[in-house]
Symmetry: C2
Subunit: 283 residues, 2 copies
């Protein structure tokens, strides 16, 4: 396993393609193996034990592909199963999305009043809440599950009346002006689906609220982890402006329904994906 090995990207479905897009932009000379466990999605409503069992199987598959680094582009796995995945892939850096998102929120929030929207499981497990409080113990974190945003993003309903009313429904109460201590000044998009709805989300927020999307911050952390481990591919080239995401350098795997993965995933990756490009694998 050397610097020429691919970077693994693991998600329960297509949501992690927003993270893959950020990785391709930040690391244009790397190659990637993306696995969406579409046969078992969504992870967000499943128990920690079940999510861990699935994630360990996925880790074994990435070991077979010889990845030099694994990005867990799934908030639920990042919150519930990161220690088990790290144990399974001893020696390979494993980077989740919760820590980079929490770190970015702590850095950009002037007041420390931080709001998080995520799936039901991520909110219930308090993943962002505890990650933020570890970094900034005086922070005041509020969290809200926003499962409709997942359905809206998958359906491609990223603008219009339904998306607007869902955004007002979730964000209105979180950012009320009369909250004791004042409303939050920062919102963390704690689910990889949510960047798809960024415009609608911003429109429902009071002016001046910072929106933190963990995809970009995760990509930056992956780059520095690879450099520290001496595993970055062709470092010199990374100083030139990012290339367009290279089709050939991305291998897409799914556990079910390649056609749907391609159709919905095209919107998330912002480039056409054909069904033939998606390899079906069994976990």
């Amino acid at each position: 396993m050397g610097s020429g090995a691919p970077i693994g990207v693991f998600d329960s479905g297509v949501g992690g393609l927003t993270v893959l897009k950020a990785l391709c932009a930040a690391l244009p000379t790397e190659s990637f193996v993306y696995l969406g466990d579409t046969a078992r999605l969504p992870y967000g409503t499943k128990s920690a034990a079940t999510v861990t069992r699935y994630s360990v199987r996925a880790a074994d598959m990435f070991a077979d592909y010889g990845v030099k680094c694994l990005v867990v582009a799934c908030n639920t796995v990042s919150a519930a199963a990161l220690p088990a995945v790290r144990e399974r892939l001893a020696g390979v850096p494993v980077i989740g999305v919760v820590e980079p998102g929490a770190q970015a929120a702590c850095e950009v929030s002037p007041s420390g009043r931080i709001a998080v929207i995520a799936t039901e499981g991520t909110v219930r497990r308090g993943a962002y809440q505890s990650a933020i409080l570890r970094l900034r113990p005086q922070a005041r974190v509020s969290a809200q599950a926003a499962p409709l945003f997942v359905a809206l993003a998958e359906e491609g309903l990223c603008s219009g009346e339904v998306a607007d009313s869902a955004a007002r429904h979730y964000l209105g109460p979180m950012f009320r002006g009369d909250l004791p201590g004042g409303p939050p000044d920062t919102l963390v998009l704690g689910c990889t689906h949510f960047p798809m709805l960024a415009a609608v989300i911003r429109a429902a927020l009071p002016a001046g609220v910072a929106v933190v999307d963990s995809a970009t911050t995760t990509a930056a952390q992956v780059r520095s982890a690879l450099q520290q481990a001496g595993l970055a591919a062709q470092l010199a080239q990374q100083r030139v402006p990012p290339l367009a995401p290279d089709h050939a350098a991305v291998r897409l795997l799914a556990t079910d329904d390649a056609e749907r993965f391609a159709r919905v995933g095209s919107r998330f990756l912002e480039r056409p994906i054909s069904g033939a490009e998606v390899e079906l694998v069994d976990l």
Copy 2:
């Protein structure tokens, strides 16, 4: 296996509890074993091969419970896997929800212009479309996937601005007055989650449109199948007014997260369910 054996009810999650509720009301002297395959939900976006594999495993489990009849309270399984389940449970009547819903729609629609809303998988496989056309070849069927309704029902957002705008989004174009031949006069709720949103759905429909909910029609069909097979429990009592659904006569099984099943399921069954009441099983 005699008339005292339980009736099996199978769904991918909590949605089928709307069918169980209708069965309890129609067959108050029977006992039921309900299985929600919550570890693998949703079935609606999975391939037919995957859904069939899961359903056959569930059929084996129901055989172990000695059920005298199996109600497939899941539109996706009814559309994709009924022949495989019937083969596996030879000798046990297996009743899906698609046929009864299609039959009821054909009976109540004066014009034969019938609209169907369902999950993505049910619509794509044309399950209701072909079931209706088999019964009424001159019918004109339009179908629309309405995945947001599933998310709304699971979240308990069954009224209010978000649900209203989602109903207008899906139903407005289907019932436009200027459609050639005129708009549909009947709407089939082709997903067991959708009865939860019946009020919001009715409010978005033009006056006079009939709404067919397959739960009640399925329950009636189960009753006559049991009578024909001589397997109905204590028939005489079924002539008295229906009892309130009997807690003791229902056994609830789930493959994951009993607590969530209980919390969300309580709304669907319209009675409190405690987490301790839900047995975790492995398929």
